[in-house]
């Protein structure tokens, strides 16, 4: 049985492999933001409520403030930085831009990851399925309608 206080973990983030020594108590969001300098994923509430820190961990949408970094050892992670190519936004990101689906922009990385996870599983979601997919993401500008429209547009 392995016993470790801090350990070297390996994660693949947006196609790049990183090895870092992390303390057992370190949250995944802090690994991403502070150790890997991937500050696109935001910390809104730090209590698992707001969804701004949503990332895709081994093809599963999670809130990275509720996951310990060591739980992600060996995993493949996608963050908002991994969505667009060098010059090209994804159709979903373009739809967010076209439909003014962001106001302050703070919730946007999480919304994009939740919607990306949805469209990957279900390219033609119903209105209800779109609403359900962003249940765990809070937009305090209350711009939900444009976000919904953008996801719908990207699915068509």
């Amino acid at each position: 049985m392995d016993v470790v206080t801090s350990q070297t973990i390996g994660v693949e983030v947006n196609g790049t492999t990183y090895e870092r020594e992390v303390e057992a108590r370190r949250l995944l969001i802090h690994l991403l933001r502070d150790d890997l300098d991937l500050t696109g994923s935001h910390i809104g509430c730090d209590t698992g409520n707001c969804g701004a820190c949503s990332v895709i961990l081994d093809r599963t949408l999670v809130k990275s403030c509720m996951v310990l970094a060591i739980q992600a050892d060996g995993a493949s992670i996608e963050t908002v930085e991994g969505l667009a190519g060098e010059e090209q936004l994804t159709p979903l990101q373009q739809a967010f831009s076209d439909h003014h689906a962001l106001q302050c922009g703070y919730c946007t990385p999480g919304m994009l990851m939740s919607a990306t996870a949805l469209l990957r599983e279900n390219p033609k979601p119903s209105d209800e399925e779109i609403a359900k997919a962003i249940q765990g993401n809070i937009c305090r500008c209350t711009g939900y309608w444009n976000i919904f429209e953008a996801i719908k547009a990207a699915s068509e």
Binding site: M1, D2, V3, V4, T5, Q7, E23, A24, R25, L27, D46, T47, G48, G51, S54, T60, L61, V62, K63, M66, V67, L68, I70, Q71, S114, K132, A133, Q135, G136, N137
Partner: protein, 278 residues
């Protein structure tokens, strides 16, 4: 804090206790660690040792709520309870075993007041703010059990296989007493491994909450019809998931001034649930 990755249930169970805490999905534990409600020298990761997946009537304790909410083979009440719990991101990490053992949302407890559940002498919620609190079993501690799936599994008459024994879900939970403030009968180092969930003829889970999504139950009602009758169980009404024989049992509720509305909220939900399964 350190992490342990045991290779067997036996090794995991042996490693628990004495400052060690079990880690499954982490969605309940991680915030409690951060808020220092739980202190652990060692986390014992269960992912590799606790069964995951559905096989016939058996559900591995490591199965996530996200897996259960789309599983056509499990009873509707459990599927619906899982779908109505938390948010998609948390359901994809949180396990059914962990969900059954999740801690109360009572803010006095969460803010570490020296309340009855924390070993103190009084329940601050009884005298203080308690809108979300209990209407049954609330004499010493008025906290409300937050698990939707637990109520569904209770109505379904689920049995629990642990690393030491098999017991009915009703025996898993206990009201806290002077001598023992725990709300479950699990012993130190005892792990939930598997659930056995009987197949009802029909079942349903209905939930009243402050908003339509991503909220804990004010009242959750599970009903399951079997050949010998309907079983009812409620979430959010007592410190533990609560069985009722019928709607008239609501007359025996002991609501606090701020929770009396829950009795009236439960009544039509029970009627609708019974109507739905019969």
């Amino acid at each position: 804090m350190q992490l342990l990755r045991p290779e067997s249930v036996e090794a995991a169970a042996a490693a628990l206790g004495n400052g060690s805490v079990a880690l499954a999905g982490g969605t309940d534990l991680v915030p409690m660690l951060r808020d220092r409600l739980v202190s652990a020298e060692t986390l014992v990761e269960l992912k590799e040792v606790v069964p995951r997946g559905v096989e016939g009537t058996r559900i591995g304790a490591g199965t996530t709520l996200a897996e259960l909410e789309v599983d056509p083979e499990i009873p509707a009440a459990l599927r619906e309870a899982c779908a109505l719990a938390a948010s998609p991101q948390l359901r994809s990490m949180g396990t059914i075993g962990g969900n059954l053992l999740q801690a109360t949302r009572c803010w006095y407890w969460r803010l570490d007041f020296p309340c009855f559940l924390h070993g103190g002498s009084r329940c601050h919620a009884r005298e203080g703010a308690h809108r979300e609190h209990a209407i049954f079993g609330n004499e010493r501690c008025a906290s409300a059990h937050p698990s939707d799936p637990a109520a569904a599994l209770l109505a379904l008459g689920a049995r629990v296989r642990t690393s030491r024994r098999e017991l009915g879900l009703e025996e898993l939970y206990r009201l806290p007493t002077e001598d023992d403030r725990n709300v479950t009968a699990l012993e130190p180092g005892e792990l939930i491994l598997e659930l056995d969930v009987p197949r009802p003829e029909a079942s349903v889970y209905l939930k009243a909450m402050d908003r339509a999504r991503w909220a804990f139950p004010l009242v959750g009602v599970a009903a399951a019809r079997f050949a010998d009758g309907v079983r009812l169980a409620l979430a959010g009404v007592a410190p533990i998931p609560w069985r009722l024989d019928s709607e008239t049992d609501l007359d025996r509720a002991t609501p606090l001034p701020g929770t009396a509305y829950k009795v009236e909220l439960a009544r039509p939900l029970i009627r609708r649930a019974l109507h739905s399964v019969t």
